[in-house]
């Protein structure tokens, strides 16, 4: 049975991605485009040269972190739809620290990164607290927190950080993650040191969950809240802790955007979608650290490659959003894929 589960754990994501790409091809066909041209453009847009490769890595960086944010909460049986809002508050806080504090890089940069993580953690704390103490469903609270983050942040940019402007100033160089070395390797793409932070975070998540008693308790609470309670674990504390750590991961993702990619923050009319894509990443990655990194690379490549599709193949970039949504459906409906695989196996015998 366990070997079966492992097999499914690998097969279901692969089949889902393939199905997503096949349906994507059908959509291109039915709207009069050439799917082969479309996918070649997608590939070239993501891995075609050093520049696009750098940009793909840049896109993958925050996706790893938001994927971890969703997956970490999920380990404790919590659904963190609030990664989106946590990204936004992490972003603004990191930029804020990057703007107003004057310090040498060795203090300034870690401080700005940490500030982003703490802000995200605080944004996760409230839903965690409400869940632990009052049993309020975290899904609804985190959705509401997303909008509160969006509108408040816009207001902060307009009224506090600038004088009715739509973009903040660029952060001090001592707080920047930008890497001339990585940029020169990739023909001046916007790739930055954040990718190492993201990979480190993935290792931390793996270590926390698999190798520490904290992680064991978090998982136990996720498996069975009541049993954990009877075993003497503090369920409420674990729920809050899980949401705070998850929020911190997402806050880091925001800090990567603020300190690495953009160096500032602009008023947003809608969400970054990093948080929602994080749900897809976590789901496809099977909520484990290695899977999340791989899934983030896949989605980063899809999103980056999409930019090439309109010019090279006449396919709107939104095709990639459709493919990602379909992949989520297929993974979520893995029940039917498992059923089909089992059926297939039986017939073989």
């Amino acid at each position: 049975m366990t070997s079966n589960n492992k097999l499914f754990g690998i097969l279901v994501p692969i089949i889902s991605v393939l199905l997503g790409l096949i349906v994507g091809a059908l959509i291109m066909l039915s709207s009069g485009n050439n799917p082969l041209e479309g996918y070649v453009a997608l590939w070239n847009g993501a891995f075609g040269d050093a520049y696009t490769l750098g940009e793909t890595i840049r896109r993958t960086t925050p996706l790893i972190l938001t994927g971890l944010a969703v997956a970490f909460a999920f380990k404790t049986g919590l659904f963190n739809i609030g990664a989106e809002g946590q990204v936004i508050v992490g972003w603004i806080t990191a930029v804020w620290v990057g703007l107003v504090i004057d310090a040498p890089m060795i203090i300034h940069l870690p401080l700005a990164i940490l500030a982003g993580a703490i802000a995200g953690g605080l944004w996760g704390f409230l839903p965690g607290l409400l869940k632990a103490k009052l049993g309020v469903h975290e899904v609804i609270v985190t959705i509401m927190m997303n909008y509160i983050a969006l509108y408040s942040t816009n207001e902060i940019i307009r009224s506090v950080l600038t004088d009715q402007q739509t973009t903040t100033d660029t952060i001090a160089e001592t707080a920047s993650l930008a890497s001339p070395w990585l940029q020169s390797l990739t023909f001046y793409s916007r790739v930055h040191y954040g990718v190492f932070i993201a990979l480190l975070a993935a290792v931390i998540m793996w270590f926390l969950v698999e190798r520490t008693t904290y992680g064991y308790e978090l998982k136990a609470v996720g498996f069975n809240r009541h049993a954990s309670n009877y075993a003497g674990m503090n369920v409420g504390k674990n729920i809050i802790l899980s949401m705070v750590i998850a929020g911190a991961f997402a806050g880091l993702a925001g800090a990567m955007e603020g300190l690495g990619t953009y160096g500032n923050m602009s008023v947003m009319s809608g969400f970054t979608n990093l948080g929602f894509d994080g749900i897809a990443v976590a789901l496809l990655g099977g909520n484990n650290a290695l899977g999340i990194v791989l899934a983030a690379i896949l989605f980063g490549a899809l999103k980056e490659g999409a930019g090439e599709m309109p010019t090279a193949a006449g396919v709107p970039t939104e095709l990639v959003d459709i493919i990602i949504a379909l992949i989520i459906f297929f993974v979520a409906s893995s029940y039917i894929i498992r059923w089909a695989i089992l059926r297939f196996k039986k017939e073989e015998k």
Binding site: S31, L126, G270, F276, E318, D321, I322, A325, Y335, I336
Partner: protein, 317 residues
């Protein structure tokens, strides 16, 4: 005072109508035990369909175009929601995940087709949106007339009437009893011969119809064109209204009206003495903050249908 009311009330009704409609959809779905985070996406599909239909058939239907367009939006919304029904009822998928996917898929498809059909990121403005009307006779009544029946969109009345119809259907008919039973205790309902999956399919499709209608009304009264940023958060405000209204059609309507008030105040507050100095951001986030407070139990208890979000697997306990 009277002038202020006269400027606020029509605006509130105007902003609330799409929220009321979409929230009713949410009530149907969640009452049957299927969480519907996808309301936002259903509104997107409704808005897209309403605008495209209106642009395409304005010559055929003339002044009736907006009405036919929102019917089309309703039908397409219902069809689109079948995806959510299949995933969450038949395939036992996580309903929240499926809802998130619905939202992504809707924006993806809407903008993809817009670019394919119109070669740009947003459509043209429609030639036949809804216009305000004054109802003859009723608008002549002193005080009430000018407040409620003058310069009003008829769709606002449609929304309020449908809220009462939904209440009647859910609480006064055998169909409604079955739908609620399936959401409270599917096994007991099943034992009594109610087809759980069947009822949940109907409920989700109804939510798609209402969500599509809400999106169509939003597009044809408030924005008049479609792009990727036509619907930003209205579906989630509607979801908030479902919860704030304690999963009751009339409660949801009240909540939607209240949130509509918050939205319209953020637009017209400049002209109101008391609110002039309140930063717009507080009015913008009010619906979301209030929903969290309501959920935390500070404004009465908000209890979800017992089996909300739990797939029903026959024979399992």
């Amino acid at each position: 005072m009277f002038d202020t009311l006269q400027s606020i009330i029509p605006t509130v009704l105007f902003y609330s109508a799409p929220l009321i409609l979409t929230a009713l959809g949410g009530v149907f779905s969640e009452k049957s035990g299927v969480v519907n985070i996808g309301l936002e996406g259903l509104m997107v599909i409704g808005a897209f369909t309403g605008i495209v239909f209106n642009l395409t058939f304005a010559d055929v239907f003339g002044t009736w175009t907006p009405w036919v367009s929102i019917v089309a939006a309703t039908v397409i919304g219902a069809i689109f929601s079948i995806i959510h029904a299949v995933a969450s009822v038949t395939f036992h998928a996580n309903q929240v995940v499926s809802g998130v996917a619905i939202n992504m898929l809707a924006v993806g498809i809407g903008v993809y087709l817009t670019k394919e059909w119109y070669d740009k990121g947003q459509t043209d403005m429609v030639a036949q949106p809804f216009y305000t009307t004054s109802i003859p006779i009723l608008s002549e009544i002193p005080i009430i007339g000018p407040l409620f029946f003058k310069g009003i969109y008829l769709t606002s009345y449609v929304a309020i009437i449908l809220a009462f119809v939904s209440w009647f259907v859910l609480y006064k008919t055998p169909f409604g009893l079955r739908l609620r039973a399936v959401g409270e205790h599917p096994m007991a309902a099943d034992t009594n011969g109610i087809k759980v999956a069947h009822m949940r399919y109907i409920a989700v499709i109804l939510s798609g119809a209402f969500g599509g209608l809400g999106g169509g009304v939003f597009a044809l009264t408030i924005v008049s064109n479609f792009s990727g940023s036509t619907i930003v958060g209205q579906g989630f405000i509607a979801l908030a209204a479902v919860i704030f209204g304690k999963w009751h059609p009339l409660g949801a309507m009240g909540a939607a009206l209240f949130f509509g008030l918050a939205q319209s105040l953020s637009v017209v507050s400049a002209g109101i003495p008391l609110l002039e100095n309140v930063p717009q951001v507080f009015l913008l986030i009010a619906p979301y903050v209030l929903t969290i407070i309501a959920l935390a139990g500070f404004i009465g208890r908000a209890d979800a249908p017992r089996a909300n979000g739990v797939p029903y697997i026959k024979g399992s306990r």
